[in-house]
């Protein structure tokens, strides 16, 4: 391919990547059915989320985006990292902007295969044995999702307040972007993101080839891609331009070779090589199949890579077996069916604490799309295995009755997709009423805030005394949506609250009293 051709391909790559990232931001920001389905399809192409969804959560094979990703990685290498991974695209933007300003030159970096394999193995074993903490922190989509919800969203909320203030002076009344959340989650992501930005601006795609579990798997898949970057040793003068522009640091100029498994197929080298010595081509010269070792570092050769892979998978298998995870049976019986006192309420579709905490990678997509912001990241409310996983926060909001967006959008299937009618049957917990704290009893005045908002009438007002009404609860029809807890005007602890189920139940439904309104036009005016 000519230089012009590579330039065109690079521009195409940038255009596709830009469009994908833009779509990600737009679809996660606009919570409407159309955008929700765009976001859903985008996340289906995310390697690990889709893998977990299909293999662990029993999700639909429509979500099996990891299969085409695997196929294309075997074919052309880690194109995924430069056009589909939102975190990767963000890195390319950072690299581009920092490089322009400071004329940053990248250096050939060591393969670091052992470090990468070790980190990936530990995180993957953790995922398999039900401790997805490290995996969730490193998985690139989850990291991007947290950056969006913890940094982009509050920033947008802040900016939008200013915009709204300006607009109202000209009689245009908009609502600012809503953000609600604890500062701790924001700070955690902020620290991680600052570190990430610094690493990326300084070392390029450092994250992808040291820490990223997806990167590690794709490295194994791209040991010998069919189409790949190759040197023409005749044309190459070892000038080193390619290595300076390679954000992955995977070009060894002295050996005139590209370490394919770290190459993210960005086409920078092919575009910048003054001698057209690099080409993206199907490799056919059998003689050259054993390239010279990568300078200064043990090369991730096929044998070593296989050993690392077998080692990691072996460890994972042993770990998984030891903890007797039954990933394919979605409703695996829980040892702890009893409600744990003080347990946080689990989101719709999570089914059980055990099932949920093992599958959620804390990408916080559900938190971002939740219309009432009742979904909030937890810290250790669900234990170490549930670090950062979203829970229902009924102190600041309630679960909207006519909504099941979180379950529809969850990329890993940790929240099983539910239609709205299905979600209405889920019992996340049951209502409990503390008469001693209720306004009706403490102040002797009417209140009824809890019953007013209850969508199931599991809380309703019944006669008390002196014409007052008091709350009456029926736990069998309660969905545990938290509307009553949120509406209760009493200072914490509230007089009415939801006690969480560690395993979701099915609530009873009452037969409708009336199917259609009765015609009752009065004969006379009643006043």
């Amino acid at each position: 391919m000519s230089k012009q051709g590579y330039k065109a391909v690079k521009l195409l790559r940038i255009a596709v990547a830009g469009a994908i990232l833009l779509l990600f931001y737009i679809s996660i920001s606009i919570s409407q059915p159309l955008y929700n389905s765009i976001l859903k399809n985008l996340t289906r192409l995310q390697f690990f989320p889709s893998l977990i969804n299909v293999v662990f959560s029993g999700g639909s094979w429509l979500a099996a985006g990891f299969l085409p990703v695997t196929f294309f990685t075997l074919l052309v290498g880690r194109l995924y990292c430069s056009v589909l991974c939102p975190l990767g695209i963000v890195q390319d933007i950072l690299i581009f902007s920092s490089g322009k300003k400071r004329h940053r030159k990248y250096r050939t970096s060591p393969s670091a295969a052992r470090l990468h394999a070790a980190i990936a193995s530990i995180s993957l074993v953790g995922l398999l044995i039900g401790l997805p903490l490290l995996f969730g922190l490193l998985e690139p989509y989850a990291f991007w999702g947290r950056i969006y919800r913890d940094l982009v969203l509050p920033l947008a909320a802040g900016v939008s307040i200013g915009v709204v203030e300006v607009l109202r002076t000209v009689n245009i009344f908009w609502a600012p972007v809503q953000f609600r959340g604890e500062i701790a989650a924001v700070m955690m992501t902020l620290i991680a993101a600052v570190l990430f930005v610094w690493l990326t601006c300084r070392y390029g795609r450092w994250y992808c080839n040291r820490l990223c579990p997806t990167g590690a798997v794709l490295r194994l898949l791209s040991l010998r891609p069919i189409v790949r970057m190759e040197f023409d040793k005749e044309l190459c003068t070892k000038c080193g331009v390619c290595a300076h522009v390679c954000p992955a640091g995977c070009i060894d100029v002295s050996a005139q070779r590209v370490e394919y498994n770290r190459c993210i197929v960005c086409f920078e080298c092919t575009v910048h090589c003054p001698f057209d010595a690099l080409s993206f081509t199907a490799f056919s010269h059998r003689k050259q199949r054993q390239p010279a070792p990568f300078a200064g570092d043990p090369d991730l050769g096929r044998r070593k890579a296989l050993m690392l892979a077998v080692g990691s998978l072996g460890a994972a298998a042993v770990g998984g077996f030891g903890f007797s995870l039954r990933p394919l049976s979605a409703a695996s019986p829980d040892s702890s069916v009893q409600d744990t006192p003080g347990l946080a309420v689990l989101p719709p579709g999570s089914q059980s604490k055990r099932r949920y905490t093992r599958r959620c990678v804390s990408c916080h997509t559900c938190v971002s799309v939740c219309p009432t912001h009742v979904l909030q990241p937890s810290f250790f409310a669900l234990g170490v295995s549930g670090f950062l996983q979203p829970i229902m926060d009924y102190k600041t909001a309630y679960c909207e009755w006519e909504c099941s967006r979180c379950t529809q959008i969850c990329p890993t299937g940790a929240l099983k997709p539910l239609s709205i009618p299905q979600k209405k049957l889920v019992q996340m917990g049951t209502v409990e009423f503390d008469q001693d704290r209720c306004v009706v009893f403490t102040d002797g005045t009417d209140c009824g805030a809890c019953a007013e908002v209850c969508p199931t009438q599991a809380v309703r007002m019944v006669p008390y005394k002196n014409g007052l009404t008091q709350p009456h609860t029926e736990t069998d029809i309660c969905s545990g949506c938290g509307s009553c807890e949120y509406a209760c005007p009493v200072d914490l602890p509230k007089a009415i609250f939801v006690v969480a189920h560690s395993r979701h139940q099915t609530r009873d439904e009452r037969v409708p009293q009336q199917t259609s309104p009765t015609e009752d036009v009065p004969e006379e005016f009643p006043f």
Binding site: R168, E402, C454, Q457, R460, R510, V521, F527
Partner: protein, 305 residues
């Protein structure tokens, strides 16, 4: 009227009202002249939009309440993320018609707002109120953004001394209250006075500081110029939200229109099937002189269509 001018007026009225209440001679504050032919019209048998036209004409026309160039704020009940057929929210066709008539009467701007209980975006869309407001030529305001709410002193109030209220309540020239009549689990019925609760930010304060008194006292801050009670489909039990198995709807095909907010609530109570005296907030509002619950003293035009 700019904000400063408004606040000056407000403080003057506040003082007057405070003095009035202290002297035991409650004043009628905002444009409640009884110069029109009737104090109240009640219409029965038609469709909500048509009944409004009939009723408002009999009351002397909308021009009695909305003057050319004025800013109008309409407060429907759009509080729940449920379809209009469920009888929990104001009939959208009625809202649309009122907005349209205000525009025709020469209103400079017609705003529609509700600080909904359910998520405002979902509620505005499911209740079709947002669509209705736009179709009528009005503009829906975001009701759940705290930035649009301002602290205001409530003159003469005992419990609700000050309240975070939507700024348009303070800025609009005319407020039109368009509630739907419903059962309410704790206040028996919810109608005109209770509907104004959707103009305040902090609902919790009401509930923990004598709900009935707060509902009544809010009207000391600003009484709507006109109240249009949608009593077409009336929820007779399981209110105010309604549920599939414990609420019942009754089609009464009625509408009650009056500038007297207490009188429309009294008439609404009778329509719903209870006595106004059994609803505490109506009694308190009557005692505060916000209006009268005694319908015998009013000239009421009853129209069957």
């Amino acid at each position: 009227m700019d904000r400063r001018e408004f606040l000056q007026t407000l403080s003057r009225y506040s003082l007057a009202a405070g003095a009035g209440v202290l002297l035991g001679k409650p004043l009628s504050l905002y444009g409640q002249q009884t110069s029109g032919p009737y104090d109240m019209t009640a219409v029965m048998g038609g469709e909500p939009a048509g009944m409004f036209d009939t009723g408002i004409t009999a009351l002397g026309g909308l021009g009695r309440f909305v003057k050319k160039g004025q800013v109008v704020l309409i407060k429907p009940n759009a509080s729940w993320n449920v379809e209009p057929e469920r009888g929990a929210t104001t009939t959208p066709a009625l809202v649309s018609r009122i907005v349209q008539r205000c525009v025709e009467a020469g209103a400079a701007k017609v705003y529609v707002v509700d600080h909904t209980i359910d998520n405002w975006k979902l509620a505005y869309s499911t209740t079709q109120i947002e669509k209705a407001a736009k179709e009528g030529g009005g503009q829906m305001l975001p009701g759940s953004s705290k930035g649009y709410f301002q602290e205001a002193a409530v003159p003469g109030a005992k419990n609700l001394k000050s309240v975070m209220v939507h700024e348009m309540v303070l800025e609009a020239d005319v407020v039109i209250n368009v509630p739907i009549l419903k059962h309410h689990g704790s206040t028996t019925i919810t109608c005109a006075l209770k509907n104004l609760m959707g103009l305040v930010w902090d609902r919790w304060y009401y509930h923990s500081n004598d709900l009935h008194r707060c509902i009544a006292e809010f009207a000391l801050l600003r009484v709507p110029s006109l109240n249009v009670v949608d009593a077409y489909t009336v929820m007779t039990s399981g209110g105010p939200r309604g549920s599939s198995h414990r609420s019942s709807l009754s089609v009464k095909k009625m509408q009650i229109i009056s500038p007297d907010i207490v009188a429309v609530d009294a008439a609404a109570a009778a329509t719903w099937g209870t006595d106004a005296s059994s609803v505490r907030y109506i009694n308190i509002a009557d005692e505060l002189g916000i209006g009268t619950k005694n319908l015998d003293n009013l000239r009421i035009k009853r129209i069957r269509v």
